[in-house]
């Protein structure tokens, strides 16, 4: 299976390790990714929040660049996904308005977690697991943009999403029921108003801990960076690491969680290595 791939700027910068785990997991699943040639930034929140036209035209260029390939487009970043979907809808609705003669592509824009959580792919993921992440208690955290607004994202279960929980289960970890799965962490305000980000992150992490979480699991690079980094300001509290779902899948596939990968986290990510080594130990005892 071949897909067009839109990594977006985060995955080429602060979330480079997310890019590596997405591509490695896809390779293991037999999915070939072809990066869209000369793609540009989707404008993220800042463009549509301050200039509607630029906010549509930036992702529109990427859509037009992908027209010829005919493959569905895989998008791991929640913000890029939402912006690409929004531009796609505007264009389909009224190509004339955007000075495009004809826009009838047959590709679909795929969000990474919903794509990986399909029944068939989940079964394949479970088959490939070398070391299940037994007992890692995960609070799956979706944030906003892969879900909302559903009129843009077409997310089927936007208030009670399940894709991350399904992925986590497929690799043998334990998803928890908790309250803040789809709450906003205010990533778009984090630089200018860190005080607001600290407050929202503290609520989210506090709720996850109350539910007994050892880690948060997400698919959004802004959430991952914001929730980890703003915890550094919460003094006297043990921080929770935020893993990418694909990072966990890759660790389960490889049966180890390398030191180098641990170091990409801003807070301690030791728990995963611990869980993996004790799970490996237990499975040896059973044999």
């Amino acid at each position: 299976m071949k897909l067009s791939y839109y990594p977006g700027c985060s995955l080429k910068g602060t979330a480079a390790d997310y890019d590596r785990s997405v591509t490695a997991v896809c390779t293991r699943l037999g999915i070939e990714l072809e990066e869209i040639t000369d793609w540009n930034c989707c404008g993220a929140s800042s463009a549509h929040m301050t200039n509607h036209e630029v906010g549509v035209r930036l992702p529109m260029r990427n859509l037009l660049l992908s027209m010829t390939s005919g493959h569905d487009i895989l998008v791991p970043c929640a913000a890029c996904f939402q912006r690409m979907k929004a531009a796609d809808k505007s264009l389909r609705d009224n190509p004339d308005y955007w000075d495009v003669d004809c826009y009838e592509p047959d590709f679909e824009i795929l969000h990474i977690s919903r794509f990986l959580a399909s029944e068939q792919r989940r079964a394949r993921i479970t088959e490939l697991v070398k070391q299940p992440l037994a007992d890692l208690k995960c609070a799956c955290y979706y944030g906003c943009l892969s879900l909302r607004n559903p009129r843009i994202t077409d997310a089927p279960d936007y208030e009670q999403p399940k894709s991350l929980e399904r992925i986590v289960e497929a690799i043998g970890a334990t998803p928890l029921r908790w309250s803040h799965r789809t709450e906003c962490c205010s990533g778009s305000l984090t630089m200018a108003r860190p005080d607001i980000a600290v407050k929202l992150v503290s609520d989210i992490v506090g709720a996850a801990k109350k539910a007994g979480a050892e880690a948060l699991v997400t698919d959004c690079p802004m959430c991952q960076a914001n929730v980890e980094s703003r915890q550094m300001e919460l003094e006297g509290q043990e921080p929770l690491p935020v893993f990418f779902a694909t990072e966990l899948i890759l660790a389960a596939f490889e049966g180890t969680y390398p030191e180098k990968q641990q170091k990409s986290h801003l807070v301690s990510a030791e728990i995963l290595a611990k869980v993996m080594s004790s799970a490996a130990h237990n499975s040896k005892e059973v044999i």
């Binding site: 000369d38 509607h52 943009l145 929202l200």
Partner: protein, 187 residues
């Protein structure tokens, strides 16, 4: 809330036509409060989300484009997702922000406006967001050089921040996109 009374008499018809053209049906609001109940940043707002919607229905553009709320809104789309009348409240916030900028209103949350401007400046220049340039530009222009120093250093030492930008080939196409001058606002 600001001191101004919410009243249809101060209505601005051009503004009402603009939000109608964007398919934002503010008159459908029956003030149920769901939008405000779910808003993650409501405690920092000077106007609540439901007040923004009602004031928009009354055409009270001036008060709205001068508010802090339009800048503090995180564009999380919770309000618009949950509004029983499917009012596109997050898009309304976008329109208000853009109007404030186009009319040259001094932003009541200057740091947030500056962040958006720095981010877009980076894309306009390189075609992609260049984090180091963006952060440096934002920090220099905001004069806030001290906050997040520790974080910046950690990101740097973990090689999360790439020192060089990734310019794209189609940079002139990106400049064209930005030079559009918002034809929507000229029509």
């Amino acid at each position: 809330m600001t001191g101004k009374a919410i009243s249809p008499e101060q209505g601005n018809r051009k503004f009402l036509a603009k939000i109608e053209a964007m398919d934002i049906d503010v008159s459908a609001c029956f003030q149920c409060g769901r939008c405000s109940a779910g808003c993650p940043v409501t405690e920092f707002f000077d106007l609540t989300t439901m007040e923004v919607v009602r004031m928009a229905a009354y055409g009270m553009e001036e008060v709205l484009i001068n508010s802090k709320t339009i800048w503090l809104c995180a564009a999380c789309e919770t309000c618009a997702t949950r509004c029983p009348n499917e009012i596109d409240i997050a898009v309304l916030m976008d329109v208000l922000r853009e109007l404030a900028i186009r009319k040259g209103v001094a932003p009541s949350e200057p740091g947030i406006e500056l962040f958006h401007r720095s981010f877009l400046g980076s894309i306009r220049h390189w075609g992609r967001a260049y984090e180091v340039g963006l952060i440096a530009g934002y920090k220099l222009r905001s004069g806030d050089l001290t906050s997040d120093m520790k974080l910046g250093w950690q990101m740097f030492s973990k090689r999360k921040l790439k020192l060089l930008p990734h310019p794209i080939k189609g940079k002139d196409q990106i400049r064209n996109i930005f030079s559009g001058k918002g034809k929507e606002y000229e029509r």
